[in-house]
Subunit: 434 residues, 2 copies
């Protein structure tokens, strides 16, 4: 019996006869030869059918096979210098497995809505394949990094009775006879985790019922939220830049084929692995924006929008930390600055090339009375936060943490235009199918 | 400046002076010596304060320090043959970081409700530490296994408009002007993933609004759902047992300290790494139950409850696959048996020691007409499943998959009584705090 292999393993079977389960992505043929473009989910390559070398039945099948029909093919692997993949298969046999009449996604251009309606099929296309493989590598590298650094994963609950940043933009559900909300962040729970296990992280879906339709927002997205006990903000920034550099390096090392498909410039990515990343203060950032002449209305005290973030990041060839934002525009739990009333100890990491904020983080306030007052000021329900205040009542320690938006990071690393490309089944304003 | 270390790294610093950020878990003292039980989230060990060797201030602090106060301690690491951890620290300095007045969880016994209300603090206790470290190892090993085996992670959406097993026991939310449900399973999406990428898996939270209060059920739990194209059920069973053995072996290899805390017998766990696992048919299982005399009412065609699963698994020293259940009690997407009308090609994996089903899986039906009829029969909304039927219309292939309940597996591996111990912040019937 022939050995069944995956396309990605072709390099280990040169001049061997093998069997592969595949789908047809495209084909062309003449009277004497047919070229079948094949995929199996691990890679794409070409199958060559030479009329004189196969039975009439096989050659007829090769000429008639339709886009996205599934097949078992047998044949011999050869090197193929002309293709970026480097190998092809000369077919001796084709066995049809599943039909495909009028596959809806043809090689011609389709509109985005049409493609999104067919996301379950669109994922089979080459660019989508490349992005999803890189997503997988970013996920894999995240676990490698945090395990290596001594973090343990503490899963925050999705269903909660309280909300870290107020109750707007929250999805609501009935939890038996109670009310519950879908988590926007696992951070508060990670803080409990850090007091128990030192260095912890969560990595799970979060939800924001935001009525905005930008290329940077998803309704449902994945976040990585590390939290570290006995750690001040400066050390946290070092963890953050080390983590980002590790992600980018892992993609460079393990996704050459996929970056090639996306035509992503590896030299640009390499810059993002050079540490440290620059740090500028919020004050300096405001000054830069004001001096630019492009943002006449920017005033100290306001949060930055996408254009401002893009402008700031363009001035650096690497991601840049903007540190110590105004207290008034940041969440209640951030640590007050020791000598300034108006700012908190925090940082956003802005990605270059127009991708904006990919990380937000801060040192956390440690004083229970201060936090209780903050919770009241923010109009939050005190009862919901008793457990959170306990973390300060019983053995409070300096601690810091941050959150990385997975899909934002992937969009940036892959160089895609729109964040909807970075997740298998995007949830967008009014899109919940498929 | 002294080197700051973690307790777990004590072995690399014997006879060195170091600094550690810690919490006090317990203490005892006489006039001349104080023994402080310390934890830092990586391990637990003892700090010894000898009155004659330290300043009066330090000794007084050592005698007065309270449970769960946070401290920076300095001192010299020594081997300590008497403790299971193997090392202790002789303290020269103690600096108080955070107070802890009347820590609610004392070493005396508390009721489960009280402890669950204080889950954010209870996680700091030794047993909970051990279980969470093993949970982390099971998660880590899962990623290692599936990456090694060539799977890529395809995240299924949590918010969906359709439901794989009917709309009972679903959490509902408004998705802008539409209705949405929290996912009970990512499987159907993984099938789309498998057609695009060959071997895929999801690993995320799933939700079941079940009004049952058993030691095996959580409302919110994490599932690992692999799906494999061009794969029949028998090969899938081999992946499943290999995966389970890998998880157990990883815990044995990397969690000796934690298994020790739980007093879990490693020899029992070792049996679970010996492959293959036995396979019995559903028919045989029914016969075993009937012959036992303990289940006089069991009839062919019924699903098994916990007592039946426990009885069956007790007859094997390893997890056992029960294969080919009646069609009528299984979901619509399972592949019909080739020669029998009444059963489908599926298997549940039952864990020994009374832990019941930890995996459910099947080969999937490939024929679009058959599936369409099944969807209708199950009373599901056909429109919601058009994308799923597309997977069969365009290049259908034999494929199989399975789902592992993370917390069930952890409960079993750790030998805990109740599944609420296996997740940091359990969501149970009427428990959504903290
Ligand atoms: Mg921002
Ligand atoms: Mg069952």
């Amino acid at each position: 019996m022939l050995k069944t292999i995956s396309i990605i393993d072709a390099k280990n079977h040169v001049d061997e006869e093998v069997k592969i389960g595949v789908w047809l992505t495209n084909k062309r043929s003449s009277g004497k030869i047919a070229f079948l473009q094949l995929r199996d989910g691990t890679a794409f390559f070409q199958g060559v059918v030479v009329k004189n070398n196969v039975s009439e039945e096989v050659f007829t099948l090769a000429k008639e096979v339709k886009q996205e029909e599934s097949l078992y093919v047998t044949g011999t692997i050869h090197e193929d210098q002309r293709s970026p993949f480097g190998y092809e298969i000369e077919l001796s046999g084709i066995e049809k497995v599943g039909e495909s009449e009028n596959y809806p996604i043809s090689p011609k251009k389709h509109g985005v809505d049409f493609l999104m309606d067919h996301r379950h099929l669109w994922l089979r296309s080459k660019r989508q394949f490349a992005v999803m493989k890189i997503r997988n590598e970013v996920i894999r590298a995240t676990y490698e990094f945090f395990n290596k650094e001594g973090f343990i994963k503490i899963d925050a609950p999705i269903l909660t009775g309280s909300a870290p940043e107020g109750t707007t933009e929250l999805f609501h559900t009935k939890y038996f006879d109670k009310d519950a909300y879908l988590s926007q962040s696992g951070q508060l729970y990670e803080e409990a985790g850090a007091m128990a296990y030192g260095k912890v992280f969560s990595f799970g879906p979060t939800f924001r019922a935001e009525k905005s339709k930008t290329r940077r927002h998803l309704i449902e997205f994945w976040m990585i939220e590390p939290e570290m006990a006995f750690m001040h903000q400066e050390e946290s920034l070092e963890v953050q830049e080390k983590y980002i550099a590790f992600l980018v390096q892992s993609v460079i090392d393990n996704c050459t084929y996929e970056l090639g498909i996306l035509e992503r410039d590896i030299n640009v990515l390499k810059r993002y692995t050079e540490l440290p990343f620059p740090r500028i203060s919020y004050d300096e950032a405001v000054e830069m924006l004001q001096k630019s002449g492009e943002f006449p209305d920017v005033e100290w005290g306001e949060d930055f929008g996408s254009p401002e973030e893009t402008y700031l990041a363009e001035h650096f060839s690497k991601p840049v930390f903007v540190i110590n934002y105004p207290k008034a525009i940041k969440p209640f739990y951030m640590k007050p600055h020791p000598t300034r009333e108006d700012v908190v100890i925090c940082a956003d990491l802005l990605a270059p090339e127009g991708y904006g904020e990919i990380i937000g983080g801060s040192e956390r306030a440690t004083d229970p009375e201060f936090l209780e007052a903050q919770i009241e000021k923010a109009g939050l329900n005190k009862d919901d936060y008793q457990w959170y205040l306990d973390l300060r009542r019983y053995g409070s320690v300096p601690h810091s943490g941050f959150g990385l938006g997975l899909e934002r990071a992937i969009t940036w690393i892959t160089g895609e235009e729109h964040i909807r490309e970075a997740i298998p089944f995007p949830r967008l304003l009014n899109r919940i199918y498929p």
